[in-house]
Symmetry: D3
């Protein structure tokens, strides 16, 4: 069972490339980096538990309902009167106009969550999450830099990571730097602590430079330096060419024990690229849970490509479809 910890937001998007400002009806999806990864793992046949905090109102329930629909366990989602539901508004782009996102996630319930779960004295449960309980039975713990950025009380994530370490639960971290959430130098400082000694670090070259000042000639070079500096076992990254907005080619790269891995590249016709990186993370974790990083990257590359062909942030892929893609099925309709 994989535990994923982070925010989810309700997403509002105008249909068919319209502008938000002229929109009369918004399509509603639910997404969040760690949630997306949890959903991907469920689609690959694993059990996943999503840990979060949401307001105890109709929007909070909307999120919970859709997480359940995706088969992700919501037992450790706290419904609280504190804070609101994070929202975001998405405009789909087309070349040469980029997609754009308007976040309305301030004062979200998870941002206001509190550390203090593990307080033993006085028996008073002060924190929002009881990590011992949450991690009970966990095979893996996954988190991204977004969680680090949004929770005001920095101790919440520290507690989670300590608890994982104590329980010998392997940890993966996707840097996922968002400049709209925090400045790079602050992010660098915080994330340096977060990624220390994790089993898997997912990091793009730009973020490595931005946050940690780690530069290199190639992904292998950068990954080697990251692995070394932060005592990380596996480093992975998502590659893509973006000649246009409705088309790209995407693949995965990995580095471990001095070895570079690179998957084949997929030609992608893009329906909705949100959550592609998170879907890739599912695949990689899936492989690592079977002790096979190379296989994980293969799954990750296929998941990341297929996700882009599906509407919404959650990767509603089929495992068979992923595996057929990995083995090069054609594009004919199966009849």
């Amino acid at each position: 069972m994989i535990v994923c910890f982070g925010e989810a937001m309700v997403r509002f998007a105008p249909p068919h490339f319209a502008r938000i400002e002229q929109c009369r009806s918004f399509d509603v999806e639910v997404g969040g980096a760690e949630l997306n990864t949890a959903a991907g793992l469920v689609r690959l046949g694993r059990e996943a538990r999503w840990v979060s905090a949401l307001p105890n109102n109709a929007l909070g329930r909307l999120v919970v309902n859709r997480v359940r629909e995706a088969g992700v366990c919501t037992e450790y989602v706290t419904l609280t009167d504190d804070g609101r539901c994070g929202l975001y508004f998405l405009e789909f782009g087309a070349s040469p106009r980029a997609s754009s996102i308007l976040y309305d996630r301030k004062e979200a319930s998870i941002a206001k969550s509190k550390a203090g779960t593990n307080s033993f004295w006085g028996g008073k449960k002060a924190g929002t999450f009881d990590w011992a309980e949450v991690l009970d039975g966990a095979d893996w713990f996954h988190v991204t830099g977004i969680t680090a950025a949004v929770i005001e009380d920095r101790d919440v994530l520290s507690e989670a990571l300590s608890a994982a370490r104590s329980a010998r639960v392997p940890v993966s971290v996707d840097l996922n730097y968002r400049s709209k959430l925090w400045p790079a130098d602050e992010a660098g400082k915080v994330m340096a602590g977060v990624v220390k000694g994790v089993e898997l670090l997912i990091a793009g070259e730009a973020d490595a430079d931005n946050l940690f000042g780690v530069k290199g000639d190639s992904f292998a070079d950068v990954a080697a330096k990251l692995a070394d500096r932060f005592s990380v076992k596996h480093v992975a990254g998502r590659k893509r060419t973006t000649p246009l907005f409705w088309r790209n080619s995407s693949w995965a790269v990995g580095f471990s024990n001095g070895e570079l891995f690179e998957t084949p590249s997929y030609e992608v016709e893009i329906v909705d690229r949100l959550g592609a990186g998170d879907a890739m993370a599912s695949g990689i974790i899936h492989g690592l849970l079977d002790g096979d990083f190379a296989k994980g990257l293969q799954y990750g590359a296929a998941m990341g490509a297929i996700k882009q062909t599906l509407p919404g942030d959650l990767p509603w892929i089929d495992k068979e479809e992923v595996e057929a893609t990995m083995t090069g099925q054609g594009l004919r309709i199966k009849r």
Copy 2:
């Protein structure tokens, strides 16, 4: 030209009586008590100016666009980087299930607006609104208790009212008490100042009791006391029977100079009852601007009834339609 001052929110509603928590697509409308009244006055052939503050982003522009679409002047709407766009989520009910509203309007740009426009020393414009400019050419100023409740800096509204008084612009106030926004005692204290000496006070009997402790046997009784206590010229109220959720009958009552006015009652088949009171306010102000309170109530009653047959908060009525309703047209299709 009528100046209306207050917040507008983007409204999200699931189609066809669905629950918010199961909704896949929200219909988008724009509404706000004073804005609704401004739009109603435009539909009656008058010029109206809506004064407000909105975030300088796609949601803020969505509101401005739709206000312009309705023909209301947006020249004095401030687009600011301060605060967010107020939102609300609406579930349509059916007997015996009431409609319900989830507000997500905290930290709205208008709530964070600041007083200080009229600072004469040093020439420095400190406040959000320049009331002298805003009220230039105004024949009327309209505001409701919601504006009083949401703006954190209480001086903003005081300034507006002083400016109106100085400029000899008649003022109307709709009490519009919202218990989700502020407690009754606080509202009572603030609103006592706001309604002092206004030309028109719109107040239900329950609110009169709730906020001011004014009780009476009848609307006439309560209205007489309110008129007396607050030196108000005209007092008006909306009456309705609500046997069901898709049906009611509604009419208007008024009190002025010791005289009671009561309009005929309309049988209403309800499509969307939001904004009915604000539409009624348009009609009453319309009459008073022509110096005829009784006529205003007639318009108000018809506007309030017809608004309930139209989707959205804004009263997209036709003036001819209102007048035909007032003179008792039938329900046959005109061919």
Copy 3:
């Protein structure tokens, strides 16, 4: 086989009671008085042929396609380069706001159709319709006052009626007076000729007075005078009470050979009342074709009621449903 002659228009209606002027998407239906009646007869198991003229473009084809979908024969619909496709825009009302219709049917192809089919000299076919061919095999010919109003060349309808008379095809006429199309005095003069000696005249009391100055104490009284003045065998009318816009009760009345017929009344929850009178006409003609006026009125009353529960102008009723309604089935779902 019943021949129905008249215009059909494409209808555009905003969904869910919205105004045309704020509409972002129109629902599209097809309707026309005689076409609606033809479709009703097909639903009752009869063959019907609709005769008309339409532009030879995508809108004309849209109409033809949907007429065919409804099972009505379109073999004698002329697609021409002359004229345009009639359109109408419909706003659904709710009490106290009446529905309203905006016609945009000027210059329609049928309005520009020409007489002259039956020209014997020189063998040159000058007219739009060849009535001998059109009426070949016909058991009945149906037309309404709308056809008389819209076709500029008055001889077109005269020719059709002469041809029917020659071929001994019984004729029904629904007065269907539309004040937006022509003045009452002109309509009166023209329709006096049209209804002369027909088998069935459908006429409301108001139209009888308006067009022909025929007044009376009751439907029976008026019908007797009409039957007498115009040598008409059967006179029928639709009755309804309209307390509200979403509810009425409706029934049929008839007069023949000095006898008055009156059906039971149906309580109707109204989805779309357009075409109810035309659906009633189908039922009455259906009965008369079996030589049973009373039965025809029964069918007509049920058809007219059920049509109002179905969206669009065409009466997509089931014959079984009509007969179940006539025998008083309840409102429980059949499982």
Copy 4:
């Protein structure tokens, strides 16, 4: 934890009262009598487990996803290659046209489920359901006559009931006779065995007569006879008046230990009446689990009324809303 056993179907319904035969787009819901009851219990704060069999394809997964979305446990839903997914097509009616349902549920996976779970010899699990496992931890077992009708192998339900008896799990049965599924005499024979000794029997007076020949002057009379004949502790029924299709009044009646219970009646504006009886069942079971039949009927009556105001078969009610309705809240919007 309540165990509910039965079929669920995917439901296709044309929007806005259209006919199936003219429909271009179907709205999709999921429903099934026992599933609806399970969902209602979850909404009241209880845990419920739905037991069923579905095809292992996209439609089967659609059902499972939406059951999970509703918070009902799907752990004991068998996905199988045997059989197909039951479907039904629904046309919404309006007076005088009744709603109608077209079932396409033959060869459904659950219909083909097999008995044989409890085979002890040889350790071979021959049946579809392992009732010992399924009922582990159960506080209640609920089933309806539909399950009895659809499963070809009659022993499947017998096994389930025996297992419940062995495990001392109280049982409720809703007769739910469907004449489209089986003849009354066959249903009578089978159901006589099914209802024997259950804790709660939900039965209408018509079905009691139809299936068992039990007649009486009143619900109390019939219920007394049923209780006596089948050794049933509690008998309940749903009452409603159906003057129209969009309006009814509905309430619940119960009989236990010689005592008659009757709840207040609710005036209902009907959005979707499917599943109202199943929602009522949730309320009654909820009360009985707390040992309070009268309370159960109160909840049941409110649930049954509110369900009719919500689209879809599943009762997406709020517990607070139910309780507010029970205590007579008005129909004003809460602001």
Copy 5:
């Protein structure tokens, strides 16, 4: 007049690339190989008659209505109480995810149709179709391998082909092998009989190998062998490159009397590729009816390309558009 014989199904597809399992609303189309070809012929200005069997319910009527809408004659469609309406569910893909189809067509009415029409003794009509009547006035008879696969009673198709032979009606067969419907060896045996001596055989190289073990270096080689083995006059095939899912290039090839034909290739932006081969068949038959195979292939290639730009299985092309495409019109909007 062309007679086309086969099944049609109702097709349900989620909008905008969504998964079936998460879909809330399905778009509804109607399609079937032979029906699609019939519709294409009508669009080219010919008369076509579609022969089939459908259940006598709302879904069966839905199919008939839409076939009529497309202008195809439905006089010989049998509405029966035997069997159900075939359905299929379609998910639109995007590279690298293929589209997928879920058939739910078992127990379809046509599958249960019976042979025996031509029984001469006793005058008793035992079969579902009376081929003498059906083929009366026919200029061509078209069928595909799907019809051969789905009808349980193999004699039905044999009877049809014998009747065509007797009536000297030329026959075309599209192999259309569907592995989900029957195994290749069975299909090979049955189809060998079906294609014997037909005027036109449409066959891909893969199917020729699969079903008949006919291999070759090129289409010409394979076609020559097929023509020889089965005494077929014309052999045709559809060629396409499928670099991606939203783009391909497609053209037609043919072989007759030792001569190879190949049309230009069209660059296609794909909206809905279902029915492209059937549309091509329309074009080829259209040409052969004029005695010009080369022209037929030209029409076929253009029809097959244009069909892919239109939603739904039926080829709603314009004849002018086809011809403009054949002569190389550009892509500018005509204004």
Copy 6:
């Protein structure tokens, strides 16, 4: 402030590439060449006034509302009882099927507008537009060949141009030849007068040849001849390659004072190409108003490209977005 003079039509388009003739619901937009340009100028931060005539009905109001929504001044739009609202129906194409447009704009109110505003004697205002008033405060006047084509009274445009000349308001003309509106020779004669001495002429090479017989080897050559013949200061043109329907590359070219200007080319993924040329015109005028033709072409090229990525005729671009595109921003989502 820029004054733009011309017709606007309501546009009806079937969703998702469907044919008009099978459409059940049309999406509604508003567009017109000069209006589109006015809207583009508003989006670039300028004030624009649109001058036109529309019927005083719901369709006319629909146009006005949406023009206001776009921020364009409608003060000089005449609502009249003369004429109807121009409509057009649009089918979106995909290669190899071109988009097509069906105009239904005959008898439009603007087509029936009358000259005569500037009559000084007798004080009688005979014309539809009072150009002195309309042009008061204008910095620029923009019109296209469509306006010249549609207004029956040719003097209307002459008056406008004279008034602009008198008021020393610079004029831009986009040839915009539409062969469906008038023959090339007539257009050539009229437009020769219209473009005489204007500040900016937008003309494609094909139109230059077609209308004026001006041919050349290159845009520069043709533009030089046009500039010379008509004493035009700046000549501009839109270039694009159209390999497919959903993709093109587009850029702008200009010629002034013997100098050729050419912008970079943009790779465009096309959502809706209508109005691209009009959006380009906005950019060019924007530059010229700042005295910088080269800058104008840069803005124009970016506006023309981005417009094609947005649904509807009006260019709902952001100024920031335009400038980011001009400076080569990538296609990554901004987060």
